[in-house]
Amino acid sequence: MSTEQLSIAITGAGGAGVISCGELLLQAWARLGGRGLLRKAYGPQIRGGESAALLKLTERERYTASSNYDVVLALDWANFSRFEEEIRLGSDTWVICEPADDLPDSVVAAGPNILRVPLAELAAASHADGRENMLALGLLGSLLGLPAASLCELSGQKLARKPQSYREAATACIERGANEKLDCQLQVPPLGGKDLWYLSGNQAAGLGALEAGIRFVAAYPITPASDVLEWMAGGLEQLGGHLVQAEDELAAINMTIGAAFGGVPAFTATSGPGLALMTESIGLAVASETPVTVFNVMRGGPSTGIPTKSEQSDLNIALNGLHGDAPHLVLAPLDIADCVFTTGWAVSLAQQLQTAAIVLSDQFIGQSTAVVSEPRRCENIVPAILPALEEGDYLRYKLTTSGISTMASPGDVDRRFTADGLEHNEKGTPSAKQSDHQSQLDKRADKLADFDFGEDWGCTSGSGSVALLCFGSSSAPVAEAAALLTGRGVDARVISLRLLAPLQVVALTDTLAGCEQLIVVEQNHSGQLFHYLKGQMDFQQQVHSYAMAGPVPLNPQSIAQRVLEVTGK
Amino acid sequence: MTMANKKLAEFFAYSVELESEAMERYEELADVMALHHNDQVAQFFVRMAQEVTHHLAKVSDLAKDMELPELKAWEFNWPEAESPETASYEALHYRMSLRQAMILALENERAAESYYRQVANSSDDAQTVRIAGQFADEELSHAAELECMLQELPQNGANLREEDDEPHMPE
């Protein structure tokens, strides 16, 4: 058992409160300066279904999904088979469960250490309203060395709106659980983090957007993006902004465009099916040069797919989903903390370049909560400046060297124009002429191609003749794979792309210089990134694809294994 | 302002509105006909607009030292929905003949004459009666000119408005 990480799974059904248990445990751990990640897994029921809180306590902030669990606390074993793929046990695993429960075959087969604890009985004995999840919290807390008082305080905050006796019951159960001496020793990862934050990727994205100046959001709920919008609703109110719940995604994207046309930085969030609906109007934003940011939290596709699980299969539609030649921005945050930076950067870029930015987050980083150091911010916020009016009519779509023309907004004096999805001339008047179409297409392409995006297009680390390339949330499993490889004496370069369009071909080529093998890693079935890169780049090295669809998170071991196969080591 | 002046001022306000609406309408119709390449009719409407301009200038001159009541477009009490000399947008057809355009203009002149005549006959202000009468006469003479011009024009073919091509679909 490594002290680098400790993985705990808590499962239960029927409203057992498993997720709350996991959240409170992680929060208390964070208070002591510990880092960790909380993921959730659950059945299709809205209430009373099977739930699993999947915790990974770690020394470092590289948050991949656990593959093997050190502790599995099962309040019950109802439909545990649902989680079998994700919750793997070994002979070192500690299983804590009710004395009378029959263990699932898969659990028995792993040969774990089994601790029978009469959770229900103990909870009932502690208080009339006693619940097993709070008892489990006390139990686990004590195994981790967390003070019961801290757990009680946190649970009090969480249950603030519940009846008094309910809150007292929680406290009683926590304390009882903490006092229960288990015949089990856990080695916990070291603490020592300072100035830590506790947030989900979706919350982080919302913060990044608001900090970058978003003051209008149009929202249509969709799993797993609704949390972004819900969190922003509260924030916007305090900032004098507005959130409109739209009747559908078509309304959402168009409301966003309307607000942006009004000069108010605007934003919407959705997932694959919603993004598909929005594509026509994202093209309108591109053609009319109206800045919008569309935050897409990817989930299992295609079509309705697997709404509650993560995947990286919307790359194709993000890059190519707009009809016509409609160059635009596509970015992907690399992890939960990076959601703050990348979303802020996307908003800022969209404003500067007067185009649409599609940000590809996913369910894994979106809906997982992590303890992180204070996230990096995007400082690159561009203030709006309207240069002095020149002679003659205001030309909204003036052909400039940078390709960026001044964007007037309603209220600006004597700069009236009509924005249009129709192709237009410099003034904005619809035009079907080749010269206008060519020059405006050039304008919209060049303003992106000629822009200096700086160093943040990606994150690179390591060295070696083999490179691992990925985008967005794959960066953590890829980094872990690289660490595993280093342990095997194989050095791998890791490149995580944050900016996917426009692709920084020159910079990427330079970064790959000297590599002989390249493996493109992604969480989708068809190798979308692989094929995209093959189309854009002139690779000097052999390029291989490691494409694995969801719903199970990418496995660093498998990635490392693939590298070994490819390099023949 | 005296009562008489007020009545005259009101009449002038109506007249200015009538003439300026007529002029602007003819200009608009000229533009749309030109855009649809019915140049004959477009040029005719331009000439009509110019005629009306003269008349408008006259009225404005007569009224220049008076303060006219400012009425919104819908506050004018016209015999029909629009002011009398204003050609209805809906009377147009892109293939209308010059003859048809002239008939339209003739109807406008007659409506204007009829309007001014009615004011001249019913107003109890001498000045208004006099001037309205003058305007009515002028409209009458315009109408007569148009009637003359019409006689010079050939009759329309029965299928004038037919076109072989299908309509286009620009968007």
Binding site: Q27, L207, G240, V244, S281 | L35, E90, L92, P167, E171
Partner: protein
């Protein structure tokens, strides 16, 4: 904001010549809009015309104000987003019967329900003019002039006023392109009305529905004041001939959103990030 000197209706025209067919009813609507703007002495710089796609959606470019020519059916969404973000602006949304009641149908009923303070002018010629004459949701069941529906649509047309009422629109009026002055008055009232004002304009299509010149004889003005009772309005809208013009229904309803914009809490951004600190 521009100095509000007294502008005339023609001063509100951008100078771009409309491409509508000679005989099109939309010229009247354009005329009426400019008259209403002049009468209200509206500031050009603070007014936005928003449209979807179709012949009537070409209108924004012809007005000397800001404009947004959006995609088919989505003008109302753009207009509401704009107005919510910029409540200081005067926002008019406009489009045709296909744009508004077919592809835009969902946005129409929700706009009525939401009651954002904008004006919506639907120019209804009971046909898709721009795409060469297909039946629309307001086309008569037996209109068989479209190749797409050679036996007529065979489906009952919508009654837009009834739809609007059922969806919650507080101000419903109808105008006719043959009477631009009355239309101008209704547009001015619509703009001044606090809430979602729906103006249903019967605006003939000379090219695909030349029979609509008959409307002149059928149209009749409403003599009575506007109804204020929804039940009575429902009866009217379900049973009328669809050609009564004037202000038909008007009630006061709270507009959305209720909170004033710009009420920023001191240090709000810092507070938001602080909420994540352990």
């Amino acid at each position: 904001m521009t100095d509000v000197i007294k502008l005339k209706a023609k001063d509100y025209k951008s100078g771009i010549k409309p491409i509508w067919c000679p005989g099109c009813g939309h010229f009247s609507v354009f005329n009426a809009i400019t008259k209403a703007m002049a009468a209200l002495a509206i500031s050009k710089d603070d007014t936005v015309m928003v449209s979807g796609i179709g012949c009537s959606s070409r209108l924004p470019a012809y007005v000397d104000s800001y404009g947004f020519h959006g995609v088919h059916g989505r003008g109302l969404a753009i207009a509401q987003g704009l107005k919510v973000a910029r409540p200081d602006l005067t926002v008019l949304a406009m489009g045709g019967d296909g744009d508004g009641f077919s592809i835009g149908g969902n946005h129409f009923i929700h706009a009525c329900r939401r009651n954002v303070n904008i004006t919506y002018i639907a120019m209804d010629n009971e046909v898709y003019g721009m795409t060469k004459g297909q039946a629309s949701p307001t086309t008569a069941m037996d209109w068989d002039h479209s190749k797409l529906t050679p036996h007529g649509p065979g489906v009952r047309p919508f009654k837009p006023a009834a739809l609007a009422l059922a969806s919650g629109a507080p101000w419903i009026a109808r105008a006719y392109s043959g009477n631009p002055n009355q239309m101008a008055k209704l547009i001015a009232e619509a703009i001044e009305f606090e809430g979602f004002s729906f103006l249903h304009v019967m605006s003939q299509c000379i090219t695909f529905c030349p029979e609509q010149t008959d409307w002149k004889a059928i149209v009749h003005e409403r003599e009575e004041p506007a109804l204020v009772d929804a039940d009575e309005a429902a009866k009217l809208f379900l049973h009328e001939d669809g050609f009564q013009i004037g202000l038909l229904y008007s009630e006061q309803r709270a507009t959305w959103p209720p909170t004033a914009v710009g009420a920023v809490t001191e240090g709000a951004v810092a507070q938001l990030s602080a909420s994540f600190r352990v």
